[in-house]
């Protein structure tokens, strides 16, 4: 889970801003300092919780700070723990003490990095824009103006790449707080922006949602036609020669979706097309997106119903992950959409994919019952025998070296 606010305050801010937010910032610092002791112990993906690791900053400063995630289960007596904790805290404070951040660019180039904000039609553009960020953001027209969406503009400002002024008037630069107020006006904008900037910071290429192609990639599942016959008496009155036929006979016709005619109606829609980080990305003719993200505030929406999901998936069209293992394909599914759930600035991502056990075919395999050929069995035996020898030799060698090391120590 991610705390957008927390991150933001670490990434901002110039001097007066820090003054203004001091109480809040302080509370953040303290909660962060206590992190090493409150991190969940057994969580298998604790590494995903992206809490700033301040020791990285200090790695140049030649100080030893414990690595995140490595800790003892109980606090020890003495100052072993508290010393480590203090060092980590010191690292964080030192990192935050660094000199102010804000808009930076080469001298004389300011105008190329100045976003013009047209209040009347809520549009943003840069004249003669330049910079690496143009690879995946903005649209340039014939008049050398590059137009940005409000999320793109806000992200550039927040990152310190650009500054923003009202129209062509260079005398006044809007502060970040003003930007939030004038740009994030619509309902749900703040949620969408949080998700947008989070994905951008993770290196993804994010554009507003458009349906890029209606031709969908479909996975070639093994298809079996005419699979069931109707039976009137219990199956065991018949004679079969394999189990697959029995399974086919058992299948009910409940997966045929042609009968479901009602067009799905739903308020949910996809917000962003997302691509994995890549060079040579062409923003004018982008390839199929790798992911598509819909933003839902969980205060306002229930968990999506069948209608909601069908509606979202009917808009979706992404590249498919395929694997040679058929069961993995079943797990990757056919169409998929990512739902970003937002709860007061905390957000989680969920991936929903439509899968189809029927067109995948039977999981039961009649080969499981086939007795192995005699020669194959002997071969397998010798193979196992050989492997166990190799294993035992390797194990004893490893133990020997370990013991030898301990004697030396």
């Amino acid at each position: 889970m991610l705390d957008g606010r927390n991150q933001r305050c670490a990434i901002l801010l110039d001097e007066e801003d820090r003054e203004m937010r001091k109480p809040y910032l302080d509370s953040c610092l303290h909660s962060d300092a206590s992190q090493p002791t409150t991190m969940p112990e057994s969580d298998y993906d604790a590494s995903d919780d992206e809490i700033q690791d301040w020791s990285v900053v200090l790695s140049l400063a030649d100080q030893k700070v414990p690595k995140r995630g490595e800790k003892d289960y109980e606090p020890l007596e003495g100052d072993y723990d508290s010393r480590n904790l203090l060092e980590a805290q010191g690292a964080m404070f030192q990192a935050l003490e660094a000199k102010k951040r804000g808009f930076t660019c080469n001298p004389g180039q300011e105008l190329r990095y100045t976003i013009r904000f047209n209040r009347r039609n809520q549009s943003f553009y840069i004249l003669n824009a330049q910079g690496k960020f143009l690879d995946s953001m903005g649209k340039t027209d014939g008049n050398q103006k590059t137009w940005f969406t409000k999320f793109e503009a806000l992200y550039l400002i927040e990152r310190g790449t650009c500054r923003i002024t009202y129209g062509e008037d260079n005398s006044y630069t809007l502060s970040l707080e003003e930007c939030y107020t004038v740009m994030l006006t619509e309902d749900g904008d703040i949620d969408k922006y949080n998700v947008y900037s989070h994905l951008k910071r993770n290196g993804y290429i994010v554009l507003e949602y458009t349906l890029l192609s209606t031709e969908k990639e479909t996975r070639n599942f093994y298809k079996d036609t005419n699979i069931h016959s109707v039976y009137d008496k219990p199956l065991f009155r018949y004679t079969f020669t394999n189990y697959s036929t029995i399974f086919y006979n058992l299948q009910l016709d409940i997966y045929n979706r042609d009968n479901v005619s009602s067009a799905p109606i739903s308020q949910l829609h996809i917000c962003f097309n997302v691509w994995k980080p890549q060079v040579n990305f062409q923003k004018k003719i982008p390839p199929l997106p790798d992911f598509q993200v819909s933003v839902i505030n969980i205060e306002n929406y229930n968990f999506p119903t069948l209608n909601d999901i069908s509606h979202l998936l009917s808009q979706a069209n992404t590249t498919l992950t395929t694997s040679r293992n058929p069961v993995s394909n079943l797990k990757f599914g056919n169409e998929n959409v990512i739902i970003a759930t937002v709860d007061h600035g905390l957000f989680n991502f969920i991936k929903l994919s439509r899968t189809d056990f029927h067109s995948h075919g039977l999981i039961w395999d009649d080969k499981w019952l086939k007795r192995k050929h005699r020669r194959a069995k002997n071969l397998q035996f010798s193979n196992v025998y050989w492997k166990s020898w190799v294993n035992s030799i390797r194990d004893s060698l490893r133990l020997l070296t370990l013991r030898w090391d301990s004697v030396e120590a």
Binding site: D48, N202, F240, F247, F303, L306, N348, D356, G361
Partner: protein, 377 residues
């Protein structure tokens, strides 16, 4: 998976089939094949097991019948065992009536006994590790770095040794540590009315079936439940409220759907879901999917709870390396349901139940957490 297991569980469904030999270009093999078919057809025995319904439970008793049902698709649960009904075997062993090894010297262990042996091994290892960790902490507080390093080394040796021990065949562990014969004093403690005679004890265990399993066996394989006909059994399972959105019928649809696609379906209560799907069965591998049934019109909860519930379940399911599968069951209209139900009541045949069930539809979605930091490449 051992060969023995593969042979024991060679029926995915409670039905016998005719095994045909390989047919080649040689005409003799055709005759051979035909002969084999006729011979097996003559010997083919299809016996349906009777299910008793009493006290609201579906039961199969008698150790032969229990094994018959369990071995053909892992249906039911032995009430005195973990899953496979092994109470009789374990109790006979405990009372010293059966040896640990059979006449050919093979180890005869039930699942429960295997688990117990492994657990005890682990307990011993943990005790040793705890001691070393206490020493480690002691040296940490006193600041004795050389001793600390020595103890850490010892700990890594212990862990390595334990890893190798885990790979040892069970047979060796049993030979090293456990008594080969049962305990005679246990025999004295057992109540006398457990014994039929000197060598035999009563089988107190029965196999309990989930209602979906009972209906499946009766619907498809003609197993008899007391003397109910199919409609009466259906009524009973629906607990006499024949509604279109009855939770039983939804779970039966889902059960039947996966069962008929060759999956082994077991209850998923352990992991907060409705069903677990095994590729072949519990003795062979871990479950791949956890199924959560999503009815079309759910009772309205507060939106927050729904998100929290499903997120919690996904965490649990993800923590045990399974994939969460949401099965949305679409219901027919009330009228269509009533019409099919009336027909079913009139002629309680598998065919009319089938017509009723086929009014429903199923849609399947995989739910998984997605992490931006993990999907970049």
């Amino acid at each position: 998976m051992s060969k023995k297991q593969s042979k024991q569980y060679d029926r995915p469904l409670p039905i016998n089939i005719i095994n045909l030999p390989v047919v080649t270009h040689n005409p003799i093999s055709w005759i051979w094949c035909l002969g084999s078919y006729l011979k097996q057809w003559y010997q083919l025995k299809q016996t349906a097991v009777d299910i008793q319904y009493c006290d609201g439970l579906f039961k199969v008793s008698g150790s032969h019948y229990m094994n018959e049902v369990w071995n053909s698709g892992f249906i039911g649960k032995g009430i005195l065992s973990r899953s496979e009904p092994t109470w009789l075997q374990r109790t006979r062993r405990r009372l010293g009536l059966d040896p640990l090894f059979d006449e050919r010297g093979r180890l005869q262990l039930t699942n429960e006994e295997t688990v117990q042996i492994r657990r005890e091994e682990r307990k011993k290892f943990k005790l040793k590790r705890e001691e070393l960790e206490a020493q480690e902490n002691h040296f940490k507080t006193t600041g004795d770095m050389t001793s600390l390093r020595k103890v850490t080394k010892l700990k890594s040796i212990l862990i390595e040794e334990n890893r190798q021990r885990q790979r040892k065949p069970l047979r060796e562990l049993v030979m090293e540590n456990y008594p080969v014969t049962g305990d005679k004093t246990e025999q004295a403690r057992a109540t006398s009315n457990l014994f039929i005679d000197e060598r035999h004890i009563k089988d107190l265990e029965y196999l309990q079936l989930m209602p979906v399993e009972a209906l499946f066996l009766s619907f498809c394989f003609g197993f008899e439940v007391n003397d109910f006909n199919l409609f009466e059994l259906f009524q009973l399972c629906m607990s006499h409220s024949l509604e279109v959105d009855n939770s039983f019928i939804l779970s039966y649809i889902v059960y039947h759907h996966y069962k008929s696609h060759g999956w082994c379906v077991k209850s998923g209560t352990k992991f907060g879901s409705d069903f677990l799907l095994y590729r072949r069965g519990p003795p062979f591998q871990h479950a791949e999917f956890a199924v959560l049934i999503q009815p079309n019109n759910k009772p309205s909860n507060s939106p927050l709870n729904e998100w929290i519930d499903i997120s919690a379940i996904s965490r649990v399911v993800g923590g045990v390396n399974k994939t969460l599968l949401l099965s949305y069951v679409t219901q027919p209209t009330r009228d269509a349901f009533q019409q099919a139900l009336d027909l079913f009541a009139e002629s309680p045949t598998p065919r009319s139940l089938r017509n009723l069930l086929e009014l429903y539809h199923i849609d399947e979605f995989i739910y998984r957490r997605w992490l931006p930091s993990r999907n970049r490449a």
